[in-house]
């Protein structure tokens, strides 16, 4: 096969490169083009869609195009954040794949001059009955813990879901949140011809060569174990030194700009710096400190060795930069210089071995129009594990024990969630984590959400629901959204069904963010998540950062005897797309349209109620519906309730099953004093008073259906995940 095809370029793309260069590229140039023109780096199937997202807002400090987005949190401070995928590396080698996923997103935030203060993860696996799934879960959770814990960055939240379409293609999305003084943040643009290019951190080795094009931009297939050498090995100790070193370099004002090395290594990092600064750049591969002798120039240029940063430094600062790197016992090398040629030049042994116009290399990749077509039939198979005729008590226990709904404490306890002394609300029963930022006299809430199952049923509604759920999670702790980051995990966009999912989903993302008035400040796209057994569920993962004015008022207390329980919001439940439909094998196309305006009104009412300090607990209704939400609150409090869903059934004309287990955006369970909750009804959103907190049983009446279950049985089902994944 022609070399360019092996490297993932189409014939047309190769011709375009020849055309731009007025000659055929040599081996070094071809390797570099193939990476920067890959889906992973070039966003060739998503760029046009992404340009439709709302990106501006009064609090935005940095938007898409920088290493991460950032929003102003006041008093001269900004919060930087981004989510990124490491799906295919984790499918091949879960521990290192997940660990380096964490390491990579940390460097994106470090590159802005921010100190990482929190990590969150969104994970998807196949059903845990499968032995390989258990191996993947174990490796991914250990890998995330290994890297974050060793770096001293708390992992404060996240979510894990399990469904058959992810069995061969798990998703590992990691989100990093960092804090910086706004006026000390740096951008990634190289500038000042004559300035030096300095490589900080690890040695460069043969690990991860071609990872971006080979792994991230092609479907997984048989024999992927042979790709293991393209997965990188993480070294969190090195990264922690690099972090402290970069913080010190920036605090001393020694850097013109800073960029991390991720996919496509020096090629993308130096290329993007040159492109952003509209300058040329020259890299001498002979100056790059190597882990092994005899590496070819192209290998040095595309190596994805971890824990490296690239800095632009003025010549008279370079000695001081070297001293700081030596203090932190991390690598330092001047590997090139900024030029005014507009070209990316690779030098070896004093001779140019590659020379490309920066614009062609970095920005010349064609952007393709998708050819979407709505599928005529449900593209996923159903795997029933529950008889639809099961009585509601058994249904509730099955839902609580479903790995997607069951408590994730098993995973969260393997992560250091408190280092840094900021974690006010730890991962667990609350819907979002809360971090105090005493420097800025404020606090933030962070949450990450995705619902591939519902997006598969209807990409626009499902994605709107995902954004609403993330905002609802923030509202439950009194937070107002400041910015959104996202990771779009989809199958092969060259297939019409996937193109339709992607197009409709991005429309939903944009519509929901516009309705909420919250900008999308960054993100990442992971396409080609397919295996011979089919595509994954389309899984847009949304990360949100919100502002919490008073971290003492976050409604995270368990409900208490004497409290009333209320359902707040335009909740209109349906079993379509629900976790119960998944268990009974009745998933199919179509979701009811979400009430976008009504849901946002409810989010605002709940947020203000939480902020006023008058509500003891707030929890959004999500997977498994009201019955699961009530069970989670009861388990958390060690205290039951006696509620009747009759008023909900009367308002929405839904069935008892819908009322108990149906899902849709726009519902919150609140607990507190009766008059306080009743007053919320006067604010233009539906409020149903459901009944009192009492006793050691969960009692829910829905029409002719009743659920009466003791807390011990509920807890046993809800805490069954360790047994399922450790077996």
């Amino acid at each position: 096969m022609a070399r360019h095809r092996e490297l993932g370029l189409t014939d047309r793309e190769y011709e375009l490169i020849c055309d731009r260069m007025s000659r055929e590229p040599n081996g070094v140039e071809l390797a570099m083009f193939s990476l920067l023109w890959s889906e992973h780096c070039g966003y060739k199937h998503s760029r046009k869609l992404l340009s439709t997202l709302p990106t501006e807002g009064p609090r935005v400090v940095m938007g898409p195009g920088e290493n991460a987005g950032a929003v102003d949190v006041g008093n001269g401070y900004s919060v930087a954040f981004k989510v990124e995928s490491h799906n295919h590396p984790s499918a091949v080698e879960p521990f290192q794949g997940a660990a380096t996923g964490v390491g990579g997103i940390l460097r994106d935030v470090i590159a802005l001059g921010a100190r990482p203060i929190a990590m969150l993860d969104s994970l998807r696996f196949g059903p845990p009955e499968d032995e390989r799934t258990r191996y993947l879960v174990d490796g991914v959770v250990r890998g995330i813990g290994h890297y974050g814990n060793s770096m001293g960055i708390p992992t404060v939240g996240g979510e894990i879901e399990f469904a058959a379409p992810y069995a061969q293609n798990p998703l590992v999305n990691a989100m990093c949140v960092g804090l910086a003084k706004t006026d000390e943040m740096v951008r990634a643009a190289a500038s000042g011809p004559g300035n030096l290019v300095v490589l900080v951190g690890s040695l460069t080795g043969r690990d991860g060569i071609g990872g971006a094009s080979v792994l991230a931009s092609a479907e997984l297939g048989e024999g992927d174990d042979a790709k293991r050498p393209t997965v990188q090995i993480g070294d969190p100790f090195e990264e922690s030194k690099v972090l402290e070193c970069c913080q010190e370099l920036l605090a001393e004002g020694l850097l013109v700009s800073l960029q991390d090395l991720g996919a496509a290594g020096l090629t993308s990092s130096a290329g993007e710096m040159a492109s952003a600064g509209r300058v040329g750049i020259e890299i001498d591969v002979g100056q790059v400190p190597l882990r092994e002798a005899g590496m070819e120039p192209f290998e040095v240029m595309v190596s994805e060795s971890q824990e490296r940063m690239l800095a632009i430094v003025e010549p008279d600062q370079v000695d001081r930069v070297r001293e700081v790197c030596e203090k932190w016992q991390t690598g330092f090398a001047v590997v090139g210089r900024v030029t005014d040629s507009g070209k990316f030049t690779v030098v070896a042994d004093g001779e140019a071995v590659g020379e490309m116009v920066v614009e062609d290399l970095v920005d010349g990749c064609p952007a393709y129009d998708l050819e979407p077509a709505e599928p005529t039939e449900w593209p996923y198979s159903n795997h029933p594990t529950l008889d639809p005729e099961t009585d509601p008590e058994e249904v509730l226990l099955a839902l609580l024990a479903s790995p997607t709904i069951a408590s994730k404490q098993w995973a969260f306890e393997q992560y250091d969630s408190i280092v840094g002394s900021r974690t006010v609300v730890r991962p667990g029963p609350a819907d979002a984590a809360v971090l105090s930022i005493p420097e800025a006299g404020t606090a933030i809430a962070v949450a990450i959400d995705g619902s591939g199952r519902r997006v598969a049923c209807e990409p626009w509604s499902g994605t709107v629901g995902t954004v609403l759920e993330c905002a609802a999670n923030l509202a439950s702790v009194g937070a107002e959204p400041l910015g959104v980051t996202n990771c779009l995990n989809f199958g092969n966009p060259e297939k019409p069904t996937i193109a339709w999912q992607l197009t409709r989903s991005v429309e939903g993302l944009g519509d929901a963010c516009r309705a909420l008035g919250v900008p999308v400040v960054g993100g990442n796209v992971s396409l080609y998540n397919e295996t011979p057994s089919g595509p994954i569920y389309p899984t847009p993962v949304v990360g949100m950062v919100g502002e919490v004015p008073d971290p003492n008022r976050v409604a995270s207390r368990p409900w208490e005897e004497g409290d009333q329980v209320a359902l707040v919001g335009p909740f209109d439940p349906s079993l379509a797309g629900s976790e119960l439909a998944s268990l009974t094998g009745s998933l199919g196309p179509g979701l009811p349209d979400p009430d976008l305006e009504g849901s946002i009104a409810a989010i605002e009412v709940v947020r203000e109620a939480v902020r006023s300090g008058s509500v003891r607990t707030a929890h959004d209704v999500s997977d498994g519906g009201i019955a699961v939400a009530l069970a989670e609150l009861a388990i958390n409090a060690g205290l039951g309730c006696d509620v009747d869903l009759g008023s909900l059934i009367a308002r929405t004309d839904c069935s008892p099953e819908d009322a108990l287990f149906g899902e849709c955006p726009g519902g919150f369970i609140l607990a507190g004093e009766h008059p306080v909750l009743e007053q919320l009804g006067g604010k233009g959103v539906p409020v149903e008073m459901l009944g009192p907190v009492a006793g050691d049983e969960l009692q829910v009446t829905a029409g002719e259906r009743t659920v009466v279950l003791g807390l011990a049985r509920l807890r046993e089902a809800w805490e069954s995940l360790p047994a399922a994944v450790e077996a």
Partner: protein, 222 residues
């Protein structure tokens, strides 16, 4: 009162320790691992983290640092030293405390709010606490299983060197005799796996850890 908090490459909790010392009372500063002079501090904190990456064995490299040599001299002169988590591991590796910390019996990292029961040790660090008193303090580590050979363990227990135990039924790692923290024979050096520096503010979970830091001040140090 001047506190010194050691900082190794790979330390994680050193800023949290500085914060705890300042809240307890006094001035606090970092001491770089390469520095063999503690600069006249009144008490030393060896903080948590993964010193030098801890790829070999937790604490096994940090013991050779110039700062730890200075800490050994400081401790020999009776200066109060607390090693938290990785710091406890470093103190055991250095021979300043008996025993060793092995990987948790689960083989997994664990992070949760734990309950500590104050032991019988006499030490400036526990001078503000009554034996049997229960503290709510976070536990987070991968290698926290306290081990000592039978004769050494017997000496620790009968010699009144147990400073903290995990509350009954909550031993998170398989530590012998539920031991969470011990002191040396003289009582001036304390090592414990749980994190009192992360229990200094009710907003983030508990302020029970402050009593340990304040104990040193109350004992008249500095």
């Amino acid at each position: 009162m001047v506190w010194g908090v050691l900082q190794f490459p790979g330390s994680c909790d050193e800023r949290d320790a500085l914060n705890a010392c300042r809240l307890a009372g006094g001035e606090a500063r970092l001491i770089w691992h390469d520095d063999d002079d503690l600069g006249g501090v009144d008490a030393v904190v060896v903080p948590g983290g993964f010193s030098y990456g801890d790829y070999l064995r937790a604490g096994s490299i940090a013991r050779f640092s110039p700062a730890m040599e200075a800490v050994a001299r400081f401790a020999a002169d009776g200066g109060p030293v607390i090693g938290i988590c990785n710091g406890f591991q470093v103190l055991c590796e250095s021979g300043l405390l008996p025993g060793a910390l092995l990987p948790n019996d689960s083989t997994r990292f664990t992070c949760h709010q734990g309950e500590l029961v104050v032991g019988e040790a006499e030490s400036p660090w526990t001078s503000a606490l009554e034996p049997g008193h229960v503290l709510s303090v976070p536990v987070k580590h991968q290698s926290g299983r306290f081990f000592a050979p039978p004769d050494v363990l017997e000496e620790i227990v009968s010699g009144g060197q147990v400073a903290f135990r995990y509350s009954p039924g909550s031993n998170p790692n398989g530590s012998l005799d539920d031991i969470a923290g011990i002191v040396n024979r003289e009582g001036n050096v304390l090592g414990l796996m749980p994190h009192p520096e992360h229990a200094v503010d009710p907003l983030t979970g508990s302020e029970d850890g402050l009593a340990i830091f304040r104990g040193v001040i109350g004992a008249g140090v500095g």
